[in-house]
């Protein structure tokens, strides 16, 4: 019985962290002047992948890359990372919470992007991560010449924590 209860709690906490990372990314996308239509159309696939890899322990980070498709030389404009800490709460009983102020701070610091900019989501996973429908392999853009700043842990639950960082071009 206790195993079943623990399984349910784990399912809820992974769902909580997964959905709130997506909610926060939506807040970032809207706050930075980008069109949320792409996120909305992909929401179910994104949530399924993120929750699956959180539950299996393979998700290292969920990344939002912002780029300008019209720039053939260097299309990088910005990036936001949610980095997962699987042992954020050592006893695994951390409450479910979200700190929207951390997200708002990242938006303010990163600033807004031109309307020509587009974005994509990349899940950075450990080797051996299970395949999830709708996701394909890719490589992250280089962060050379960009500066990374961490604003703090934005989401917590169970044993999980998700800290937020943003990149700006130096």
């Amino acid at each position: 019985m206790s195993v079943a209860v623990r399984t349910n709690v784990t399912a809820y906490t992974t769902t909580h962290v997964a959905t709130n990372m997506l909610r926060s990314l939506k807040q970032i996308i809207q706050g930075c002047g980008l069109d949320p239509a792409r996120l909305m159309s992909q929401w179910a696939v994104l949530e399924n992948g993120v929750a699956t890899w959180l539950a299996s322990g393979h998700l290292r980070a969920l990344v939002l890359e912002v780029f300008d498709p019209s720039d053939r030389v260097d299309d990088r404009r910005g990036r936001f990372d949610f980095t997962i800490e699987y042992g954020y709460y050592a006893d695994g009983d951390g409450e479910l919470w979200l700190d929207p102020r951390t997200v708002r701070q990242a938006i303010l610091k990163a600033g807004s992007y031109p309307s020509a900019c587009d974005y994509r989501f990349v899940a950075d996973t450990e080797p051996g991560a299970p395949r999830v429908d709708g996701w394909s392999d890719t490589t992250l853009r280089s962060t050379a010449g960009m500066t990374r700043r961490t604003v703090g842990t934005a989401i917590g639950g169970g044993s999980l924590g998700a800290s937020l960082a943003y990149y700006t071009r130096s």
């Binding site: 959905t19 997506l22 909305m40 159309s41 929401w43 179910a44």
Partner: protein, 119 residues
Amino acid sequence: MLDDATGPAAMLIAEEVTRAAPIILSGGGPQLRIYTLHGEAAMEADLDQELSLPFVPTAGDWALSLPASPEDLEAVGAALAVISPRISVRDSTDGDGVAVASRPSASIPIINTEELERP
């Protein structure tokens, strides 16, 4: 058709709009209003009492109304417009979507007793 609305619907549920404003399905049988639980409330909910519906809510001429916060109305409306006219979005702050039907003045007749007492 409902599968095509999964993205916008999942986003609205994740935004917890449906905690207070229901997803409304009007079709065959009683109107179905779906609310959602989140966070600790979802963890503590007793799901053992769940039963299947005794009717098919999408039988016949049905319509689905999704609640959205004012800032999401335009984007969700644009996404649903290309899916089906049966699926629409409404402002979650405009009551529960059944205000007209439940408004007392709309259904209760007012009797002027003074007129009845006139000779």
